[in-house]
């Protein structure tokens, strides 16, 4: 009975609010919306309602957040057209700029891909939820439809010396205590967020000093590892460095190269140093140089077009070598 009454009252209100029936009124009262405002409303309102449905049906949380941002920016437009300029700016700065960005940050933190679970823990909760939402909509429609509204006064008088000034007179005059309390609330909220997201450390912190002590205790590599490469001859990452005794140091080659097996052979350089230490270098310098020369002929001695491994070339190289030992030594 009462539901039918509210519904009929709502229908009557909506029919009276049709543009044809309302235009004469709009001329009368100063607070009534102008035609431009009506155009803005009828453009923005459907967009807002559709975007708010994104909150209900969007599968990804980021899409829901973006649709809510759209609703909030449209609301800022509506505030400005309604004469609440200050609130329009605050809406953009606080709601869209701070609150929704905070939501997006937390979405990134929690994981964008977290999808809604479809398992119902309470049986029939989905249908009950839909019913409750629809019921709330009907109740609100009934209240809005049956309420008696005064003729709109408009904010021309209240906004006489600009809207922010009018609000400032109220906030810092009549409601200054509420303003102080809200400030205390904001500080408390910031502290609360700090306390909630604080994570207690479970293990002691590993700093540079403890790391150094651990290294000394383990007894290996107190100094940094030697750099790879034999600087006098072959300076490359894959060649092991030689220690003072002429032996290659395996650890000087980067671990990745060692694991891949791309380490170069340093036996050649190590062998030469062995010879130097053995004191035979002075005696066999010429022989060693010739051996090395025949083993790997230098590119400048290789005439183009000649087949490799021909004995004639080897003899020629040996002749050159024997003819000018000093120049070969200088290489």
């Amino acid at each position: 009975m009462s539901a039918a009454l509210t519904a009929s009252a709502l229908v009557a209100d909506l029919t009276s609010a049709l543009p044809g029936g309302v235009l004469p009124q709009a001329v009368d009262s100063p607070g009534d919306p102008s035609t431009a405002e009506a155009v803005l409303f009828w453009v923005l309102a459907p967009v807002m309602v559709i975007a708010s449905f994104g909150l209900l049906f969007a599968r990804k949380a980021v899409h829901a957040a973006l649709s809510v941002i759209l609703v909030m920016i449209s609301l800022a437009f509506m505030y400005v057209t309604q004469g609440a300029v200050f609130l329009g700016v605050v809406q953009v700065v606080v709601y869209t700029g701070a609150i929704m960005m905070l939501f997006l940050f937390v979405l990134m933190l929690v994981g964008v891909s977290t999808a809604d679970s479809l398992v119902e823990t309470i049986r029939g909760q989905r249908w009950i939820g839909w019913l409750a939402g629809l019921g709330l909509a009907v109740v609100l429609a009934g209240v809005i439809g049956t309420a008696a509204y005064p003729r709109p006064v408009g904010l021309q008088v209240a906004n006489e010396d600009s809207n922010p000034v009018g609000i400032a007179h109220l906030v810092f005059g009549e409601y200054v205590f509420a303003m102080e309390v809200v400030g205390a609330l904001l500080v408390t909220a910031a502290l609360g967020a700090l306390v909630y997201t604080h994570r207690r450390r479970l293990t002691p912190r590993v700093d540079q000093r403890s790391r150094a002590a651990l290294r000394v205790r383990s007894g290996q590599h107190l100094a940094p590892l030697p750099a790879p490469g034999v600087y006098a001859k072959h300076n490359a990452m894959d060649v092991p460095a030689l220690d003072p005794y002429g032996q290659p140091i395996e650890d000087s080659v980067p671990r990745v190269l060692r694991v891949r097996g791309q380490e170069a052979d340093a036996a050649e350089y190590a062998a030469r140093i062995d010879r130097v230490i053995g004191g035979r270098a002075a005696a066999e310098r010429g022989v060693a140089a010739r051996d090395e020369q025949t083993a790997t002929p230098p590119p400048h001695a290789d005439p183009g077009g000649a087949p490799a491994g021909e004995p004639r070339i080897g003899d020629a190289v040996a002749g050159v070598d024997a003819g000018a030992p000093d120049s070969e030594e200088g290489k």
């Binding site: 509506m78 929690v110 989905r126 209240v143 809207n163 009018g166 609000i167």
Partner: protein, 99 residues
């Protein structure tokens, strides 16, 4: 149109936000539903402020915004804290706290 249209829009947005709180399982989306309800209330407050020619409604909407900012900070911190321990942002998993 009349100012009543703003109130109707506000009512629609409020019910959509309430339905989102009731229906969605993701805690963050449900929380955004709360924000939408607060915004709808603000629209109604601004409209009433214009209807009566009194700026008090706008001051109230301003305080609603400030309190909403504080509430969002604490609420999101709770969601992050729960996510750290449960690895989930679903509201249904929170009832495991009792066991």
């Amino acid at each position: 149109m009349t100012l009543t249209h703003y109130l109707v829009l506000s009512g629609i947005l409020f019910s959509v936000g309430a339905s989102a709180v009731l229906l969605r399982r993701n805690a963050i989306i449900a929380f955004m539903g709360v924000e939408l309800m607060l915004n709808a209330t603000n629209l109604a407050l601004v409209t009433f402020s214009r209807l009566h020619g009194d700026l008090t409604g706008q001051v109230l909407a301003f305080f609603v915004m400030v309190v909403a900012a504080a509430e969002v900070v604490v609420g999101l911190a709770i969601i992050v804290a729960i996510f750290r321990t449960r690895r989930s942002a679903s509201i249904d998993d929170v009832n495991l706290l009792k066991s």
